[in-house]
């Protein structure tokens, strides 16, 4: 008895788009919330959307990373497109987990300065996730 060897690529493909999309959505919601006046109810709504998307995105990284590790048979760097993919993935993974944890603990009680730093790191992380997604796509298209 054995498993289908294409199971891991399929699982990775199925799980990896959630954290990428959720990290970008969190950056969008929280970024927009910074542009909305503090008195507007829209700000609280956007912050709530940002709160849930970043936490779900952080949780979503674990199945994506695990299936990726199984797919590459434990290769953490690799060559060419895979190397570039991993150079984006690893820092994005650590940052996204950290951001999710920070946001879950602070909730809506972040100071303006704390939230501005959070937002800057969130944009960086969303950029890294986009890079990881791009190189992941290159891996599939070129293999």
């Amino acid at each position: 008895m054995s498993i289908d060897p294409t199971l891991w690529p399929k699982l990775h493909g199925a799980s990896t788009h959630f954290p990428v999309a959720l990290a970008m959505a969190a950056a969008l919601f929280d970024g927009l919330s910074a542009l909305v006046p503090a008195s507007s109810p829209r700000r609280a709504q956007l912050r709530a959307a940002g709160y849930f998307t970043i936490i779900l995105g952080a949780l979503g990284t674990f199945p994506a990373v695990l299936s990726g590790l199984f797919m590459t048979k434990g290769r953490v760097l690799g060559h060419d497109a895979e190397l570039f993919h991993h150079l984006f993935v690893w820092p994005a993974f650590a940052l996204l987990v950290g951001l999710g944890a920070w946001r879950a603990m602070v909730g809506d009680k972040a100071s303006p300065r704390g939230f501005a730093i959070y937002l800057a790191v969130l944009f960086l992380t969303a950029g890294l996730m986009a890079g990881a997604g791009y190189w992941g796509g290159e891996l599939i298209l070129n293999s």
Partner: protein, 151 residues
């Protein structure tokens, strides 16, 4: 004399405890969350990287590789022929042992025979040349069988 020393050390200890409580109280919820965030981020990344080695080991189990997933009837002659072609055309980029150099590691490939054959025939633009002119189907079959044997 001894008593006064004991008193002094007790006093020092209580002032140290008092300091740590003050430090804890001084940390805002935001900063405490930051410490947890850094810790969780580092532990997650470290854990994933540490898991790579055991995953490497269990990935070579037949259960994970799908057993003998090759459809090619492998013979020692076919493998020897494939090894010869590999040394001639593939070793420069994929390493003499197939563990990768400029090109990727070819051990335990989780793709079909047809996909490996297609990769050899067509290559990848800008990354790997096409070998369609150099090798014909029987030779490519030997190469695929050899690549499949890399475990």
């Amino acid at each position: 004399m001894n008593l006064s020393l004991e008193r002094k050390s007790l006093a020092g200890e209580s002032s140290r405890n008092g300091n740590s409580e003050t430090v804890r109280a001084k940390l805002s919820p935001e900063k405490r969350a930051l410490l947890w965030a850094l810790l969780l981020g580092a532990v997650s990344l470290g854990g994933a990287l540490l898991m790579a080695s055991p995953i490497q080991k269990i990935s070579s189990w037949a259960f994970f590789t799908g057993g003998s997933s090759s459809e090619i009837a492998v013979s020692p002659q076919l493998l020897a022929q494939g090894a010869g072609f590999f040394a001639q055309s593939c070793g420069d980029c994929h390493g003499d042992d197939g563990h990768g150099d400029e090109g990727p590691d070819l051990h335990n490939l989780a793709i079909s025979d047809a996909r490996i054959a297609s990769q050899i025939k067509n290559g990848t633009k800008g990354e790997m040349p096409s070998f369609a002119k150099k090798y014909h189907d029987p030779e490519i079959t030997a190469l695929v069988a050899y690549v499949r044997s890399l475990r």
